[in-house]
Assembly symmetry: C2
Homo-oligomer: 82 residues x 2
Amino acid sequence: PDWKIEDENGQLRLVRTYEFSNFKKALAFTQKIGDKAEEEGHHPSLLTEWGKVTVIWWTHAINGLHENDFIMAAKTDQIAGD
Amino acid sequence: PDWKIEDENGQLRLVRTYEFSNFKKALAFTQKIGDKAEEEGHHPSLLTEWGKVTVIWWTHAINGLHENDFIMAAKTDQIAGD
């Protein structure tokens, strides 16, 4: 429910922001999601800020959303312990 | 020369994008800059994407740029090997 579909100049993306109590925890989450992305061969954009990380999934090849993006969003939630 | 000052709703920020040959190298750079930020007690926003990382420095307390942001920008360049 916390994922939103955003339209970036006609390109649809799945976006969710996770909150943390400091920068270090946010950075550790970015690393975990990045490692998972490498493992799966599908890469998000990750905005790391003090106390939060915004994860953005979309599929370059189709310039929009594919089933795999929703699967990766669910895996991101699993890693977040959500 | 590659740092730009951007105005985000009246808040000035120092912004630079570094390019890499893949996602993994971009993520490793994000981790290095994040570790340095923890060490220095001054935290940027880091946007990690496939093949690039955008680093954004500014000072929350003054809602703008402080000398320390320029020092951190120079340290970011050193870590990037620039």
